[in-house]
C-alpha cells in the first residue's frame, strides 16, 4: 500500500455555538455541525459513504437516519478523545473502505462533570455523561489522575503553580479574541493563584470548561479534495501513543507515557519539523497535559516549560508566541473556547491552515501540530499542512 502521508485531506468544517445552556440535545447540535460541514465542503449528502463519530454522543446510524444519507459502506464509533474519529476516517479513506467520510463530535454539559447541570431537568434525565468520577473515592482512575501527577510535576521539578497558570491565561487571552469561545472573562495570575482548590494542586482554571457544542469535518482523498472549493488541509502524519502501564496510578513516571511514544513517532514520520510549525494545539483539558506536551515534543526539556513560557510570553497580547512567532491554542482551547474533548483544536487548526480564521488568522499558516488526548492511555499527535 502506498504511503498514507498527505493522501487524505480535510475539506469541510462545521461547528455550532458553544454555550453552557444550549437548550438543545447533543444530537441536535451534532446534526447542525454536520449539515454545516457538508455545505462547507460543497458536496451533496449522497456523496457521503462513511460516518465516524463518538458513539456516546450519537451513534452513526442515527446520524445517517437524521440526515437522510442514502447509502454508507463504512462507519465507526470510536470513543473520546477526539483524534480517534479523525484518524479512523483517514485510515478508511486511504484503505478504500469509504470515499468521503463525515466525522463528528459533540459534548453535552452533563451532570457528571458540571455540578450546576443537575438543576436542569433535561440534563438530569440525560444522565451523568461519560466522564463520571468513580463512586468509590479511593482511586486515581478517571480524570482525578491528573491532579496527583500535576503535584508530582511541581515537586519533582521544583516549580510553582504559575506554570499551569500561564497555560490557563494563554488559553483565556486567545478566547477573548475569539467570538466563538464560551469563556472570555479576562484571567490574571492573581485570579489563578487565589482560586479554590478542586483536586490539589488543581483548580477549576486547570480543568476544561464544559459546554454544549459540536464540530464536524468532511474527510476525503487529497486527489478528490483538489476538485472542491476550499484549500485542502492535508493529514501529513497521524500518531497514537500508549504504554503497557496505561493506568493512572501505575504510570512509571512523567517520562514514560503515551506522550513520549507520540513524540518519537511524530518526529520519525513527519517531514514537517518542529521549527516549521506555524500554530500549535497542545490539548489543554487539564493544564498539566498541555505543559507536558511542550516538553514531550521537545519545545523544551523536562521541567523547563515555565522558563519557556516566560521566554515566549508576548506582553502585548498576554499570550504565548513561541520563538516570538508561533501562537498556541488560538481558539482558546478546552479551557476557554470550551471543553469538547479536543474536536475544537482540530477545527481551529483547519481554519488556520485554510486561511479562514478571521481576526485570529496566523499570517501564512501552512503547518499546524495538534497534540490531542491525555497522558495515561490515549495520547495522540496529528500534523496538518496546507499549501496555501
Amino acid at each position: 500500500m502506498s504511503d498514507i502521508k498527505d493522501r487524505v485531506a480535510i475539506v469541510g468544517l462545521g461547528t455550532t455555538e458553544y454555550s453552557r445552556n444550549s437548550g438543545r440535545t447533543s444530537a441536535s447540535l451534532v446534526l447542525e455541525a454536520c449539515i454545516a460541514a457538508i455545505r462547507d465542503a460543497g458536496i451533496e449528502r449522497d456523496e457521503i459513504d462513511g460516518l465516524c463519530g463518538s458513539n456516546r454522543v450519537i451513534p452513526a446510524h442515527q446520524v445517517q437516519g437524521a440526515l437522510g444519507i442514502p447509502a454508507c459502506t463504512w462507519w465507526a464509533n470510536p470513543t473520546v478523545p477526539f483524534q480517534h474519529q479523525l484518524i479512523e476516517a483517514m485510515n478508511a479513506v486511504h484503505a478504500g473502505s469509504a470515499q468521503t467520510v463525515l466525522v463528528y463530535h459533540g459534548n453535552y454539559r452533563a451532570t457528571g462533570v458540571s455540578r450546576s447541570a443537575i438543576a436542569d431537568p433535561f440534563r438530569e434525565r440525560a444522565g451523568p455523561g461519560f466522564n463520571v468520577l468513580a463512586s468509590d473515592p479511593d482511586t486515581f482512575a478517571s480524570p482525578v489522575g491528573y491532579a496527583p501527577w500535576a503535584g508530582r510535576y511541581l515537586e519533582q521539578f521544583g516549580v510553582g503553580r504559575e506554570v499551569f497558570g500561564k497555560v490557563a491565561i494563554n488559553s483565556r487571552s486567545n478566547a477573548i479574541a475569539n467570538e466563538h469561545a464560551a469563556m472570555r472573562k479576562p484571567l490574571t495570575m492573581e485570579d489563578y493563584l487565589s482560586a479554590r482548590m478542586v483536586r490539589e494542586p488543581l483548580t477549576a482554571f486547570d480543568m476544561d470548561y464544559p459546554v454544549d457544542g459540536a464540530d464536524a469535518f468532511i474527510v476525503t482523498s487529497t486527489e478528490r479534495a483538489l476538485d472542491l472549493p476550499h484549500v485542502p488541509v492535508l493529514i501529513h502524519a497521524a500518531v497514537m501513543g500508549q504504554t503497557d502501564l496505561p493506568y493512572e496510578d501505575q504510570v512509571t513516571d512523567l517520562g514514560h507515557t503515551g506522550q513520549q511514544i507520540v513524540a518519537r513517532e511524530m518526529w520519525r514520520r513527519s517531514d514537517v519539523r518542529r521549527d516549521d510549525i506555524d500554530v500549535f494545539f497542545p490539548y489543554d483539558g487539564f493544564t498539566i497535559i498541555c505543559v507536558r506536551w511542550f516538553e514531550a515534543l521537545g519545545f523544551c526539556g523536562d521541567g523547563e516549560a515555565d522558563a519557556l513560557f516566560d521566554d515566549s510570553w508576548d506582553a502585548a497580547t498576554n499570550r504565548l508566541l513561541l520563538g516570538g512567532r508561533v501562537p498556541v491554542n488560538t481558539h482558546g482551547g478546552s479551557l476557554s473556547d470550551g471543553g469538547v474533548q479536543g474536536s475544537n483544536h482540530f477545527r481551529e487548526a483547519v481554519d488556520q491552515l485554510r486561511g479562514t480564521a478571521g481576526a485570529r488568522q496566523v499570517a501564512g499558516a501552512r503547518h499546524a501540530l495538534v497534540a490531542p488526548g491525555g497522558m495515561f492511555f490515549n495520547s495522540g499527535g496529528v500534523m496538518l499542512r496546507s499549501d496555501g
Binding site: 455540578r115 468509590d136 479511593d138 482525578v144 496527583p148 482548590m197 483536586r199 490539589e200 501505575q250
Partner: protein, 146 residues
C-alpha cells in the same frame, strides 16, 4: 481465623465499589484486614490493578497475595469533593496517595492517607485500616506511627 466471607457478603460490605470476579479476592481480604495484591504463581510478578492474566508470562494462575503494606509515597493529592461520595461527606478535603510498595519496583497501591498533613514524594508509610460505612478500608500513615 473465621471462615472466609462469601461473595454475597463481600458485595454487601462494599456496595459502591465495582467488584467483579477479577478483584473480589482483594475485597474479601479487606474484610480480614489483609491487603491483597495479585501475584503470578509462575513468574512471581506482582501487578495492579487486579487482572485475570499475568501481564509478563500470561499465566492465568494469578493469586491475591498479602503484601506488607510498607512503601513510599509516589503520588498524592487532596480531593475537595463537591458532593458526598460513598461513605465520605462532601465539602471536606480527602487526602489520597499512590504508594510504591516495597514488594516490587513500580508496584503501586492507591488509598487514603491519614495523619500526614504535608505528605511529600518519597515519605515512608505503612498500612493502617480505617472504617467507612461499617467496612474496613486500607489506608497509609507515616511509617513507625504505631
Amino acid at each position: 481465623m473465621s471462615e472466609a466471607a462469601t461473595d454475597d457478603e463481600v458485595l454487601a460490605a462494599y456496595p459502591n465499589t465495582r467488584i467483579d470476579q477479577d478483584n473480589v479476592e482483594h475485597y474479601r481480604g479487606r474484610l480480614e484486614r489483609r491487603l491483597l495484591v495479585n501475584r503470578c504463581a509462575e513468574c512471581r510478578l506482582w501487578h495492579q490493578p487486579p487482572r485475570a492474566v499475568c501481564p509478563r508470562c500470561w499465566s492465568s494462575d494469578v493469586r491475591a497475595t498479602e503484601v506488607s503494606g510498607r512503601g513510599t509515597v509516589a503520588l498524592h493529592t487532596v480531593l475537595h469533593l463537591a458532593a458526598p461520595s460513598a461513605g465520605v461527606a462532601g465539602g471536606g478535603g480527602y487526602p489520597l496517595a499512590a504508594v510504591d510498595l516495597v514488594e516490587q519496583d513500580g508496584l503501586r497501591f492507591t488509598a487514603p492517607i491519614v495523619d500526614m498533613p504535608e505528605p511529600r514524594i518519597g515519605d515512608d508509610v505503612e498500612l493502617t485500616w480505617i472504617t467507612r460505612d461499617g467496612s474496613p478500608v486500607p489506608a497509609f500513615r507515616p511509617a513507625g506511627a504505631a
